[in-house]
Amino acid sequence: MATQLIFAIFNALSMGMAIFMVAAGITLIFGLLKILNMAQGAFFMIGAYIAFSLIDHQQLSLLAFIGVALLAGLGVAVLGLLTDRLILSRLRHVDYHYMLIATFALMMVCQGAVKLIWGVNFFSVMPPLVLDQPLQIGTLFLSRYSLFVIAAGLVIYVILEVAIHRLWLGKLMQSLASNPWMSGLLGINVSLGLTFSVMFAFFLAGLAGGLMLPLQSLSPQLGDAYLLYGFFAIIIGGLGNVRGALLGSILLGLVNSLNTILLPEWPGIAIYVVLAVFLFFRPEGLFPSLASQPQSAGEQGSSAMVGNKAHRPAWMVAGALVVVLAASLPLWANGGLLYVAGSAIVYGLFALSWNILFGYTGLASFGHSAFFAIGAYFTGVLLRDWPQVPFLLVLLGCAVFGAVVACLVGALALRRLAGIFLAVLTIALAEVTRLLISYSDFLGREDGLVGIPRPKLAWLGFDLDSSAAYYWFLLAAVVLLVAVLWWVLHGRFGRLLLITRQDPERAAFLGVNVTRVRTASFMLSGAVAAVAGGLYAPWARIVTLEQVSFLASTQPVLNAMLGGVHSFWGPMVGAVIFAVLEYGTRTFVGLSEIMVGALLLLIILAAPNGVVGLWRAWASRARTYRATQRPRETEPESGEPLRESR
């Protein structure tokens, strides 16, 4: 028993230190830039791949191994330099959500790049010579390599503590973290300092990747688990401080170690439970720091989404034309195109659901695929095993299911620091959903649900078995839902959401219960996303775990950003444009992640208001031009540039 206990604690420590090495980098960047770097896990993975390429199946001596890890760290630090110059430095003065989305996009690009360069196969690497054999203490066999990882984690911790609190570099970083503007006045080169600090955090990620390479098999998914655990560790420990990250990491290691002993058939679940409990009872973490004080969002929004009515008839005609065109598709398009069109409609609705949260309420979800998957699996199971349940009732069930899950997540995440907690918790939700599905036989485990039948609308006498029939149903359902949402978001409820987005504190002093409004918005968003999933399942006739992947969660973000988040119609427009792009480039298999990620980055950097934003800017310029040509006829109002039509 004692041996078992020691062994469990040993495992816990070694996993905890591994998590800490990733968490330390995340917490440093959070302290400096006040953002969570979603790409930290990806850069950890790249560090591991660089080390793998350097080692190349040899077994090295310990010193050479450490040297390789340091080289991997330097390589990643150079990537950090590029990242900072090309992306982060350009986004320092906009709403932090754009930076979050940018790092998320960067993560996609990294994963795609790794797949292209190193392939999708698993690799493994031998530990260095001295560390290969286990260490025997009495009857106890401990892996020397794990001991080495624990020691390395401790050394990194000590170096960080000393560097941050004692050395010039750390003091520089602290001054930049607390007030960059003031630091600039005091003669510090802020831009250079931030770049240098970001490089240091990236260096840590790469170093960790190199050091822990022999601990696991190398695959493009390597970064995901570490990223999540790293986030959890710093949330539990308290955002933005190294000591909290260390304790949080060790705690997670212990929980996971106990999980394997007590609940061997459900690996990895306990960590999420502990996280939920922690967020509920101590949302500020073990060591709350000033860095985690809530900040008001920047002034990124450029339009209030309350357009004037002058152009409404024209737009209604245009909208009707689009619907007629879409409805005529089954009559002339081939099967492939029809499938793409149907999917685009569903993804448009999905993107719209995401934008209820982002564009209207000012909160970003990075695991929205969870809601989509909940709806898709719910519908898939019911259609396959209980076909007698009316389909419309199933869709209603999807909405309720999605809203309830959103309510639970919201209750945990929206109490404090809403934006950042929601970002992490939604990722966690997607991951938990994926885990639970992969453990459940009736959900098809890793294989997914196949052969989902199309529904019949018995009491209306419709059989939706053919693609054309279901497509028309899909179109009608989405048009109806979008109309309802338009109504909801342009009325009183929409104005309520918009004032909480613009200034939550001011809204609170107008008697608005901000937490409740945000939860309501999240529930609406979750319900609509789940219905989108429910509509999708019989259309594709197959639902797999891919629907819960990071890539799937990026889809609505991308579509909404592409079309324009400051417009009701933006997400739909984006979904259509993206579908056209995808249809045009469907032969380039494997590039999808790089393409999606790079496109997203490009939009954020070049046109943060999306296609609709570009259109409005163009229309406004054209009008100003006309007005200056004929100055006597119309007097341009100063408030005019913001009050565009949609």
Binding site: R495, I499, A508, F509, L510
Partner: protein, 255 residues
């Protein structure tokens, strides 16, 4: 009756004691000014009263109810309106939309009708109320301008309208004339008097400009290093040697 009462409030940021056993009571219908040099704890006291940050000890009573632990939106619903030192309005909205949003917020928690729930446009009575408020304060000419394009003085006025749209019992003003031109200051001072006299709203304000304070206030409280130095009518404060000491320092030959 005292509409707002603070009892023995302590507040510290770490080892720094910002408020030490501060007490005050504001009678209904008066203009109450809190003054004191920089760092005296005015803004902190203000934050404690509005619920922006919690105090370490002591109690805040609003209309007889203990609101020490009540969140901001709860106090707003109970009738406490406020403005910020730097005016905070909804920048993406026009002046009219700002006011409409505030009126709708009030009608929501007061369970008053605010139009059919499926209506996209604000209800007619809401619009009428908004136009009335905007005209009263003199913002009618910029009613359709986006708030972000307003001048400093107009933003400040718009914030007043938003706060008044709640029909508050007490209006909390954090340095209402900070950073304004002398003409604008007088305009704001008149506005505050009008709010009190015509609407019967109690006003609590912090302010640096002594002219404004002596012109408006019925009662003045002087804070220094987190402690109450004096509290009373204008005449009491003007002649009080302790207050002069706080502002001018001790006379050297006196010691």
């Amino acid at each position: 009756m005292d509409i707002l009462r603070v009892e023995e409030v302590d507040k510290n940021y770490g080892a720094l004691e910002v408020l030490k056993q501060v007490s005050l009571s504001v009678p209904a219908g008066c203009i109450f000014a809190i003054i004191g040099p920089n760092g005296a704890g005015k803004t902190t006291l203000f934050k404690v009263m509005t619920g922006e940050s919690p105090c370490n000890a002591g109690n805040v009573f609003f209309q007889g109810e203990n609101v020490t632990r009540a969140p901001a939106h709860w106090r707003a619903r109970a009738g406490m309106g406020r403005t910020f030192q730097v005016a905070r309005v909804f920048n993406d909205f026009s002046v009219l939309e700002n006011v409409v949003a505030a009126i709708e917020a009030r009608r929501r928690y007061q369970h008053q009708p605010a139009g059919r729930f499926w209506a996209v446009e604000p209800a007619r009575e809401v619009l009428a109320e908004a136009h009335q408020l905007i005209a009263d304060i003199g913002l009618a000419t910029v009613i359709s301008h986006a708030a972000r394009f307003l001048s400093h003085g107009d933003r400040k006025r718009l914030e007043f309208v938003i706060a008044l749209a709640l029909k508050p019992r007490v209006l909390m003003l954090d340095e209402p004339t900070a950073g304004m031109s002398p003409a604008d200051r007088l305009g704001i001072a008149d506005l505050i008097l009008r709010i009190r006299d015509q609407m019967g709203v109690t006003v609590v304000m912090t302010e640096h400009d002594m002219d404004i304070v002596f012109r408006l206030a019925d009662r003045i409280m002087v804070l220094s290093y987190g402690e109450t130095v004096a509290c009373g009518g204008v005449a009491d404060i003007k002649g009080n040697p302790a207050v002069q000491e706080v502002y001018l320092g001790k006379e050297m030959n006196h010691a």
